[in-house]
Amino acid sequence: MIDDLDRALIVATQGGLPLVARPYHAIAEQLGLSADEVMRRLRNMLDSGVIRRIGAVPNHYAIGWTANGMTVWDVADEQVDALGERIGSLDSVTHCYRRPRALPAWPYNLFAMVHGASRDECAAKADEIRTLLGAACRGSDILYSTRILKKSGLRIGC
């Protein structure tokens, strides 16, 4: 869990780090903390997983991954966890989750993201998943993204 100072640090950094030589000192000054305190708290949040990582967040279209497919699968409930683990470990899959179905509109309970420079490349990655699922798969679809409407990341209240 986080306290008020951690929260203030999140609010101060969620839009990005200052692009100055001493960014943590700049944040410290802004919040009235010492730079050591800022760095110590960021390290703690990194260790506890509140911060997943620190670095560049690319717009994947702009770096050539123009085809982004959300592959979705209707997998037998008793097999979905074991198969999900195997699909998640495929190099071609960047995110893999079990989620609830929303019947009748949405029969799919396993979501796996694949990326490629073309839709063919995504479709080939989906075929790899299909082969792995075998008879446990009762239906599937690929939802390609055609536009990023928003990508701001987390924004908690200030």
Binding site: G16, I51, R52, Y144, I148, L149, K150
Partner: protein, 152 residues
């Protein structure tokens, strides 16, 4: 889309995580890339300005701070797509939003500081859009790694 230089590619390949926490982190990262601190700062600034990067900084896992992160979707009538996009994007709880090809044609992630915030955000979206929100909370996460190298 702008062309990426060899140095830009290197920044994208090496700096998607593990940015140091120290007094001069850009200097330290620049040294590993074999460039000067000033050049790294200028290049990150340019990559952000050209929208090759959407952000440079910490990525948070809201669940680890007591909050929630939920994928949700809407089936938006084509005639209302721009209007509904504006309504959905206006909500600060919407962390990202993608148009996808399906009857459910708008997929977004809600990130809220408390678990109760998700239901509030969904109720708010349903009220302003007059459309039902389909929520797909994760029941299990099998793998998450999102470090894509530049392809171009």
């Amino acid at each position: 889309m702008r062309e990426l230089s060899a140095v830009d590619r290197k920044i994208l390949a090496k700096l998607q995580g593990e940015f140091p926490i120290c007094e001069r982190p850009y200097a330290e990262a620049a040294e590993q890339l074999g460039i000067a601190e000033d050049e790294l700062l200028e290049r990150i600034e340019a990559l952000l300005a050209d929208k090759v990067l959407t952000r440079f900084g910490p990525m948070f896992q809201v669940e680890r701070m007591g909050g929630a992160f939920v994928l949700a979707a809407l089936a938006v009538p084509e005639a209302r797509y721009e209007e509904v996009t504006a309504l959905v994007n206006a909500l600060p709880q919407v962390a990202h939003n993608y148009r996808r090809e399906h009857t459910l044609n708008m997929w977004f992630v809600l990130a809220t500081e408390t678990r109760a915030g998700i239901a509030e955000a969904i109720a708010c979206l349903e009220a302003v859009t007059a459309l039902p929100v389909y929520a797909f909370p994760k029941e299990r996460e099998f793998f998450v790694e999102m470090k894509l190298e530049a392809r171009r």
